[in-house]
């Protein structure tokens, strides 16, 4: 009799533990998803800003067509990488886009009239801000992923995570060297791109 009671009690405790573990995993997974969609929103917003910027700079520096093409094509590949929802592919496409944008701004530096234009300054602030937002959203996403993955892979949650369909999430990485502000030096040839 007492053996039956203690078995029932043990089962109840195990069941409750599993319930809490499950809820904790769901909460972390949802936070990670939300963080991911935030990155998505900010990336789209940034892609939408770029044609405007290209148009503005074109008005002053029409002959720098190679730079414009690089920006336009890297934007297109960033957008198609975004459609795959694959963090690794997206990160590398975004890095290429960042580099082409930097050379666009480097070009703009050569045109004082353009730099003084109010519309250009506003665009520059918008782009800086959206780069900031992508960066902050990325950090929050990575923190959430780390939290979720750790929770999922640690005992005893790891016992229920697999059978219940929880999978580890992938980090959204950018290469760190790329994040440093580029030094635009007109006298020297352009520094080789990092990595």
């Amino acid at each position: 009799m007492s053996a039956v009671v203690s078995i029932i009690i043990i089962l109840l405790i195990v069941g409750m533990g599993a319930g809490f573990a499950f809820n904790g995993l769901v909460r972390r997974r949802n936070r990670t998803k939300e963080a991911w969609s935030q990155i998505d929103v900010e990336l789209k917003r940034r892609h939408d800003l770029i044609p405007n910027l290209v148009q503005t700079v074109k008005g002053y520096a029409a002959h720098e067509s190679a730079t414009f093409e690089a920006v336009t094509s890297s934007r297109a590949s960033a957008i198609s990488a975004g459609a795959t929802n694959d963090p690794a592919a997206m990160a590398s496409a975004e890095n290429t886009l960042n580099r082409s944008l930097r050379s666009l701004f480097a070009v703009a530096e050569n045109y004082p009239v353009l730099r003084a234009q109010e519309g250009f300054l506003a665009l520059q602030e918008q782009l800086t801000a959206s780069e900031d937002k992508v960066e902050y959203a990325r950090r929050y996403y990575n923190t959430s992923v780390r939290d979720y993955n750790t929770a999922m892979q640690s005992f005893p949650r790891t016992l229920i995570a697999g059978p219940l369909g929880f999978h580890a999430c992938e980090f959204f990485q950018t290469d760190e060297a790329d994040r440093a502000t580029p030094v635009v030096d007109f006298a020297a040839p352009a520094a080789p791109a990092a990595k």
């Binding site: 936070r31 963080a35 935030q38 918008q126 800086t128 801000a129 937002k133 960066e135 902050y136 950090r139």
Partner: protein, 314 residues
């Protein structure tokens, strides 16, 4: 960091509890004093215990009303006392962009953004929690700081929001303010009770006793507790702000500018000083004065951040 937030929440409850008990104690003492000095009215058999209970109940009702009021409209009150205006997004695009970006980094909803027209550079955060919060900066701060420095200052303010410092300070300040207000009302009314009847002298003693107790809470004990609280929180917000924006240089440079600044503030008073990034009233020197400071000395804050900076860059 999560630990720290949980500790803050517990401490909020603790401080509110202690203040509430202090209130009840004052109510009970006033009731007892009233009983000791004024003979019970003929026919009423309540006696000492009855007066103490009446004092307790009155104090509890007043405190409950004050806390309810703070929870409902404390944020609005602080903002309007500081003369803060809701910032126009088109006029301050950079400010909005930075606040929104930092909120993304914390995974919090973006707080409302307010600006005070004041040449003295400063900033504060207020609100009841991350869902209902506001960040306020002065026009002087915007004029003085570049983007990086502004980001450092705003990251510091966002940390106050994330850590629930804003709610703790708001509630504690309200309770202290209430004690101070009641104390001054009682001091004044002591003058008017003087000439009334045979029991007037005794009643005045009761009023003076209550006023003295409230003064101790409202002007000495309360502020010292609040200031100790806010000093600890400033250091914590510096650290977690840097953790958020990963760039100590911005906040260091901003603090250097604040240290050099001596433009007197127009709109800030003692009540709002504790919430600001830099004490707008004075930079004190000396142990006694520092007991009444809302912030750790700015030089100490800078050297702490510089140590963090070296730690990060190694």
């Amino acid at each position: 960091m999560y630990e720290q937030i949980a500790r803050n929440k517990r401490r909020t409850v603790l401080y509110i509890g202690v203040f509430f008990l202090a209130w009840l104690g004052i109510g009970a003492i006033v009731g007892a004093l009233y009983d000791a000095w004024s003979p019970p009215a003929p026919g009423s058999a309540t006696g000492a215990a009855g007066d103490v209970v009446v004092g307790l109940v009155l104090a509890a009702v007043v405190a409950a009303l004050a806390i309810a009021f703070t929870l409902r409209s404390g944020t609005r009150l602080v903002l309007s006392v500081a003369g803060a205006q809701l910032a126009d997004r088109r006029q301050y695009p950079q400010l909005y962009n930075l606040v929104e970006a930092l909120a993304l980094g914390d995974g919090l909803p973006a707080p409302a953004v307010y600006v005070v027209q004041d040449p003295s550079p400063n900033a504060f955060a207020t609100g009841m929690g991350p869902d209902r919060s506001a960040v306020t900066v002065t026009s002087g701060l915007l004029a003085m700081m570049d983007r990086e420095e502004l980001e450092g200052v705003l990251a510091h303010e966002m940390s106050h929001i994330k850590n629930y410092d804003i709610r703790l300070l708001l509630i504690v300040s309200t309770l202290i303010g209430l004690a101070a207000l009641l104390a001054s009302i009682l001091w004044r009314s002591a003058f008017f009770t003087r000439s009334r009847g045979r029991n007037g002298g005794q009643l005045m003693l009761v009023v003076l006793g209550a006023a003295a107790l409230l003064s101790v809470v409202g002007f000495i004990l309360g502020p010292v507790i609040r200031l100790a609280l806010s000093r600890r929180r400033e250091s914590l917000a510096d650290a977690s702000g840097v953790e958020l924006c990963r760039n100590p240089a911005g906040l260091i440079s901003a603090l250097h500018k604040l240290q050099a600044n001596d433009t007197p503030p127009v709109r800030f008073n003692h009540a709002t000083a504790a919430m600001c990034i830099d004490d707008p009233l004075q930079h004190h020197v000396g142990a006694i004065h520092r007991l009444f400071d809302t912030h750790p000395p700015i030089a100490d804050r800078i050297s702490t951040l510089e140590r963090m900076q070296q730690g990060l860059s190694v």
